[in-house]
Structure formats: structure tokens, C-alpha cells
């Protein structure tokens, strides 16, 4: 870990990396740089096989700060590289030629902050609609210049007469929500795929700046409605880290149980929805039958079926009861018996295997360039599960393995998700066995949180992969900036590359295998 600081110092002239306390900040090393040195530094990270975890912007009114977060997959070494940008004429060099994921993050920052990235191949808008007047995330009103408005909604298919476009979405059965993918077709083959986002942009990051830490809690459950517990957990962990709140053991274990139940729930839905994409509807209904059991159990403690808001800073909303424990045990028992059914109905099915084998193959190098996360990353053979690699809560006390794929294709992601469900069941069993008594809420949690000045980056492993929450506090009761690095967004980035040259049906299969949740991408 400390090595990287030395190496940067040695390789890049004038760079002054600072090592920071990982438990406090969530990253190991910070480095401030200037636009001319940035490409060298980024290239260095690329050589050292880091991946670009996140690229974000913060408006400090006096200046805009671009934050590049780099990390390695297996032994976490997170480096924060910052770059100050003039708010009047925000310009920065584009890193999209080095990291493919930067292509997307830079577009996002461009439309929310107005930062122009020189050398970016396609500086058009991704999320926003046409009648936007001000840059949404800038402090104070910074109007969108008129020439920028032409960049809005730039992708208009069908203008050229000699190309054949298909709009997959926004209302399309296979996009699971309101993603729009514009496909340029050659017969049944895809020449180019271009996702168009923002059909469900619900301004979560803007809202975070407008309300207190507590009031933002319900939003976390609505970003990723399939794995709300993980988002809940990530958020409370981040704020607890920021405010140095300790959590009683019972709460930690209940959090693990609830999160893992939710993970199973999410993976189950994915299995069903994926099979529905491939044309088989019955598994969809079977998985919902299992899901209902989980939802019953979770409704018993949280009071809602889907968009949970159960964790609180320092503990839980309310304690679990015997009914919950009995229900969970019953579910675990039932679920162990269900895998053979899915094996017969889905996993072994020759049609299913032929549809998914060799489709959407991701290599480890691609996964790194795009910052792919979760089961998709693990299908490429990289055993990166943040529950193990960057353990949080009490996951280091749990025994489970990290399933990895051999080929990186859609079939591998399927197998990994099934194996993860089994792992989650094991974790639940262990957590139930270890579940201690005692309070479920820390004693001294102030009603109004005013964290100390500073920033923090907290990661958790959601069902879809790495969720990173970056919070900047300015000592007020609401965050200065809250950035959500969401797994579906980075997984979607790779889709155009995977879909190129594939059949339309394969594109649907690939899109399904990425397990996208659109509100999470759009935020």
C-alpha cells in the first residue's frame, strides 16, 4: 500500500502523494495534481493495472474539484487523485483514451457541472432532458450556455437515410425499465449500440445536498429497488464512518442477515427476469414464489416489501423478533431445496446453455478498463468481492467463498449468481447462529448529525457489485456533495463493446446478464 505513494513520487515529477488513514477515509493515498501532469499519472495507474473506480466532481463554489479514484481489484489500494478546475471556464483533459469508463463519467460530469473535457470523442449529454436551464449540481445558478443545449439529446436515430436503427426502449420488455439503447443494425446483427440514459433520473445526488443526513435515508432504498438493503447499509456505514458512530453487535448481525436475504431476493429476480428475456416465463413465476417468502420475512421487521428503509445511523429501525428468526430459518431450509428445481428447469436446460454460452464474453483486461463490478467482474475470473477484499460490518467473521467464472460469458454470470445465493444462505445461517443479544441501537446518536469537515469513501458489495459512496461534509447538517458510484452504471458501460457484432437476440441476452437496475444508473 505504501509502495504506491513512493512509486508515484518516483515516476511523476512533482507529484506529492499523501498517505491517509484508511479506516477514517476509506482510501489509502491522496494526491493533488495539475492538468498537465494528470495524463502521466493516469497512465501510470493504467500500467500498474489499477482500474478507474470513480470519477466525480465537487463544487466548492470557489473551484470545482475533479476526483479520480483508482483502485486495484484484489488487494485494495485506493488512490484519490484530485484536480482543481476553474469554475468560470471549467476545462480538464479527457482520460477516455486511457480508461474506457472515463468516457462515461466525463460525459456525466459535463452535463451536471459543465466541465469540458478536451479530447473527449463525444461530449454530448447522457442523462438530461431538453428544457434544462442550469447545471443541476452546481452551487448557485450556472446557466447552461445555448451552444451546450444543442448537445442535449444529441443522438437522433433515423436522420441518415442509409442506416437502420432500432430503439430498444425506453418502453421495451427487455430493458427492465426505462433504459433506451439505440442499436444500429445490419440485418439482425448489431453494428453499434448506444445507451441513452436519464429516463429515470430522479436527482438523488441533488436531493442529498438538499436535506439532512437522516432525511436522505429513504432515498437509498429507491436507488436500487432490488437491493435496497445494500444501499441502506452502504449509506449508514459511510455516515457512521464519517461521524465515528459505533454500532452494537446485534445490529451488525441483523444487518448482515437482512442484506443477504435481500441479495438472494435480488438474484432470484434476476434469474427470473433473465429467463423471461430468453423467452421462458415459468421460472419467473417460480422465483417470485421464493421472493414472496423473503418479502414476508423482511416485511415482518421493516414494514415494507420492497423499498426498505430499515437501517439507521448506529443501528436499526427496530429489533428483530422470534418470528423473523423462525421465518428466516424456514426460508433458508426451503431455499436449499429449491436449487435442484432451478438446476433441472434452467441450469441444465440445453437451450438455455446454448443461448448464454460464449455470449458477452468479458476478459479481465476489459473488466479493468471499464471498471466492471460484481458478478460480471467475477465472471471474468477476478475474485473481487468487497465483502472479503474490503471487509465491512462483520463479513470477515463469516465463512463463504468467492465464485469466479472461467469464460466471462453470460452463462458464467448466471452460475456465479446461483453460487452467490448459496453463499448468502450460508452467511445467513452463520449470522443466525452467532446473533448476539443486546441493544439494536447505539446509545449516543445525535438527532442532528453534523459531521466534521472532510470526505469519505465507503464501498459495499451490492447484488450488482461495487457501490461506492463518496461524501464531502462541510460541517453543516447536510452534505456538500454525495456521489454514488453505482455498479449498474459501470456494467452498462461495457455493453456497447459486448454487443458489437452480435445478434439482436444476443444483445438482449447480454443486456440481461449485466443485471441492470435503471434507477440506479440514472440516480
Amino acid at each position: 500500500m505504501s509502495g504506491i505513494a513512493e512509486e508515484i513520487k518516483a515516476s511523476v515529477m512533482g507529484a506529492e502523494p499523501v498517505e491517509v488513514s484508511y479506516p477514517e477515509k476509506g482510501y489509502h493515498c491522496a494526491l493533488e495534481t495539475s492538468p498537465d501532469k494528470l495524463p502521466d499519472i493516469v497512465r501510470l495507474f493504467d500500467e500498474k493495472r489499477f482500474y478507474l473506480e470513480c470519477l466525480l466532481c465537487t463544487d466548492y463554489t470557489d473551484y470545482l474539484e475533479l476526483v479520480y479514484l483508482f483502485n486495484t481489484h484484489l488487494s485494495p489500494c485506493r488512490v484519490k487523485v484530485t484536480l482543481k478546475v476553474d469554475p468560470q471556464q471549467p476545462v480538464a483533459p479527457s482520460m477516455s483514451s486511457i480508461y474506457a469508463s472515463a468516457y462515461w463519467y466525463e460525459r456525466e460530469i459535463h452535463e451536471f457541472y459543465g466541465v469540458l473535457f478536451t479530447g473527449h470523442p463525444n461530449m454530448t449529454y447522457l442523462f438530461l432532458h431538453n428544457d434544462i436551464h442550469d447545471y443541476p449540481l452546481r452551487k448557485g445558478k450556472v446557466p447552461v450556455p445555448p451552444e451546450d443545449k444543442e448537445r442535449l439529446d444529441s443522438f437522433k436515430p433515423g436522420e441518415q437515410e442509409d442506416t437502420f436503427f432500432i430503439n430498444l426502449g425506453p418502453q421495451h420488455p427487455s430493458t427492465h425499465g426505462v433504459l433506451r439503447v439505440v442499436l444500429k443494425m445490419d440485418g439482425e446483427y448489431i453494428e453499434q449500440a448506444e445507451p441513452v440514459l436519464g429516463y429515470l433520473h430522479r436527482m438523488h445526488e441533488k436531493m442529498a445536498e438538499n436535506r439532512s443526513y437522516q432525511q436522505f435515508l429513504p432515498n437509498t432504498g429507491r436507488m436500487d429497488y432490488l437491493g435496497p438493503m445494500s444501499f441502506n447499509l452502504g449509506y449508514v456505514l459511510a455516515v457512521e464512518r464519517l461521524c465515528a458512530i459505533s454500532v452494537p453487535d446485534r445490529a451488525i448481525f441483523v444487518r448482515i442477515i437482512a442484506t443477504e436475504l435481500n441479495r438472494i431476493c435480488s438474484h432470484l429476480l434476476w434469474v427470473g427476469a433473465y429467463l423471461a428475456d430468453l423467452g421462458a416465463l415459468t421460472p419467473f413465476l417460480f422465483v417470485f414464489d421464493d421472493r414472496e417468502q423473503i418479502q414476508d420475512v423482511l416485511e415482518g421487521i421493516t414494514g415494507s416489501r420492497l423499498t426498505y428503509c430499515y437501517f439507521r445511523f448506529g443501528g436499526l429501525y427496530n429489533d428483530v423478533d422470534d418470528q423473523f428468526i423462525a421465518g428466516t430459518k424456514a426460508f433458508v431450509k426451503r431455499m436449499w431445496g429449491r436449487f435442484s428445481l432451478y438446476e433441472k428447469l434452467v441450469t441444465g436446460n440445453v437451450i438455455f446453455v446454448n443461448r448464454t454460452k460464449g455470449i458477452g464474453t468479458i476478459t479481465g483486461e476489459q473488466a479493468r478498463k471499464y471498471g466492471v463490478a460484481g458478478p460480471v467482474l467475477r465472471s471474468a475470473g477476478i475474485a473481487c468481492d468487497l465483502r472479503k477484499v474490503e471487509s465491512y460490518s462483520a463479513y470477515n467473521e463469516m465463512e463463504f467463498n468467492i465464485p469466479v467464472g472461467e469464460h466471462g460469458d453470460a452463462l458464467d454470470t448466471y452460475k456465479i449468481r446461483i453460487a452467490e445465493m448459496e453463499n448468502s444462505l450460508r452467511i445467513i445461517e452463520q449470522a443466525l447462529a452467532k446473533l448476539p443479544g443486546g441493544p439494536f441501537m447505539a446509545e449516543k446518536v445525535p438527532k442532528k448529525l453534523k459531521p466534521p469537515r472532510g470526505d469519505i469513501y465507503q464501498v459495499v458489495e451490492t447484488p450488482r457489485g461495487e457501490l461506492g459512496i463518496y461524501i464531502v461534509s462541510d460541517e453543516s447538517d447536510r452534505p456538500l456533495r454525495m456521489k454514488w458510484r453505482v455498479p449498474s452504471f459501470s456494467n452498462l458501460m461495457i455493453f456497447p463493446e459486448l454487443a458489437r457484432g452480435m445478434l439482436l437476440a444476443d444483445a438482449v441476452a447480454i443486456l440481461g446478464s449485466l443485471d441492470l437496475v435503471i434507477p440506479e444508473i440514472d440516480r
Binding site: 430522479r202 436527482m203 429507491r222
Partner: protein, 169 residues
């Protein structure tokens, strides 16, 4: 874009033949095909409603059509953003009348928890875009609530309620 949906007439036959109309209404009420249109969280609960536990197909409303041309009503499940609004109205206009809309979930009804001062991307209620017949509140509503909404819609079409009423406090 506010008023676009409203001038569409519900009735297609100017002269009403009472008996025929009644039979038609009965048929329509019992064969409501929704368009597959999921927006956000509530879409999952809409799926739940059509799944084994709740089985919306019992009322003949289980035929989810992906093409709006073949659907009778639209369940708006979730937040409608300004970018989505034109798509939604297009979809509504593509449906052949008579057609209905159920606004499911608080986001669809009023923008829900995403309404705040200075918001720039949410349509505050789908009834600003298309006429809404039944509102099902909740965040998200339980599947029972959607079923209740469906029954309310049937009630609206036929004028009578065939099913027992369920009171809850």
C-alpha cells in the same frame, strides 16, 4: 405538454345503444389487458401482482401486452421524468380507445418523495400528462392495493362492484 392527453374522447360510438354498450362494458371490465410498462420500483410490485401469489390473471387482466396497440390500460408504475413524459404520452396515444390509466405508487400520483423545491426532472403526477382513472397510493403499494385498484377500475367501467369490499385500517 400538460393538456395533451385530455382532449382524447373516451367514447368511440356517438350513438349509444344502451344494451350493447352494457355488454361491451362488461366485457371490457373483465378483460383488461395492461401494457407492459414498468418505470421504477413499483414495476416490481406490479410484476408481483401478476405472479403466482396474487395472480392478476384471475380477473382476466394477466395478458401483459408489450405493444400498446393491443392493450387496454396502462399501469404507470413509478416516477415519470420529463425525459420520459413524451414517451409516455406517445404510448398512451398509441393505445386504442377505450383506454384507462392506473397511477400506481406515489411517484406516479404526485411525483412522490422526489418532489422538492428546485427539482428539475420530475413530472409531478402523471395526471398532468394523461387522464388517470384510478390512483393507487403507496411507496410502493402492496399488490393487494393494485388488485383493489383494478377492481375499482372495473367498478368505474361497469358501475357496479362484483367483488366483496375489503376494509382495512
Amino acid at each position: 405538454m400538460g393538456e395533451r392527453g385530455f382532449h382524447l374522447e373516451k367514447e368511440i360510438i356517438p350513438v349509444k345503444f344502451a344494451m350493447v354498450e352494457k355488454v361491451l362494458d362488461l366485457a371490457r371490465a373483465n378483460s383488461l389487458w395492461p401494457v407492459t410498462f414498468g418505470l421504477a420500483c413499483c414495476a416490481i410490485e406490479m410484476m408481483s401482482t401478476s405472479m403466482s401469489r396474487f395472480d392478476i390473471d384471475r380477473f382476466g387482466a394477466g395478458v401483459f401486452r408489450a405493444s400498446p396497440r393491443q392493450a387496454d390500460f396502462m399501469i404507470v408504475t413509478g416516477t415519470v421524468t420529463k425525459k420520459m413524459a413524451p414517451v409516455l404520452t406517445t404510448l398512451y396515444e398509441q393505445m386504442p380507445s377505450p383506454k384507462w390509466v392506473i397511477a400506481m405508487g406515489n411517484c406516479a400520483i404526485s411525483g412522490g418523495p422526489f418532489v422538492f423545491e428546485g427539482q428539475y426532472n420530475i413530472v409531478e403526477g402523471v395526471d398532468l400528462l394523461v387522464p388517470v382513472d384510478v390512483y393507487v397510493p403507496g411507496c410502493p403499494p402492496r399488490p393487494e392495493a393494485l388488485l383493489e385498484g383494478l377492481l375499482k377500475l372495473e367498478e368505474k367501467i361497469t358501475g357496479t362492484r362484483r367483488f366483496p369490499r375489503v376494509e382495512s385500517a
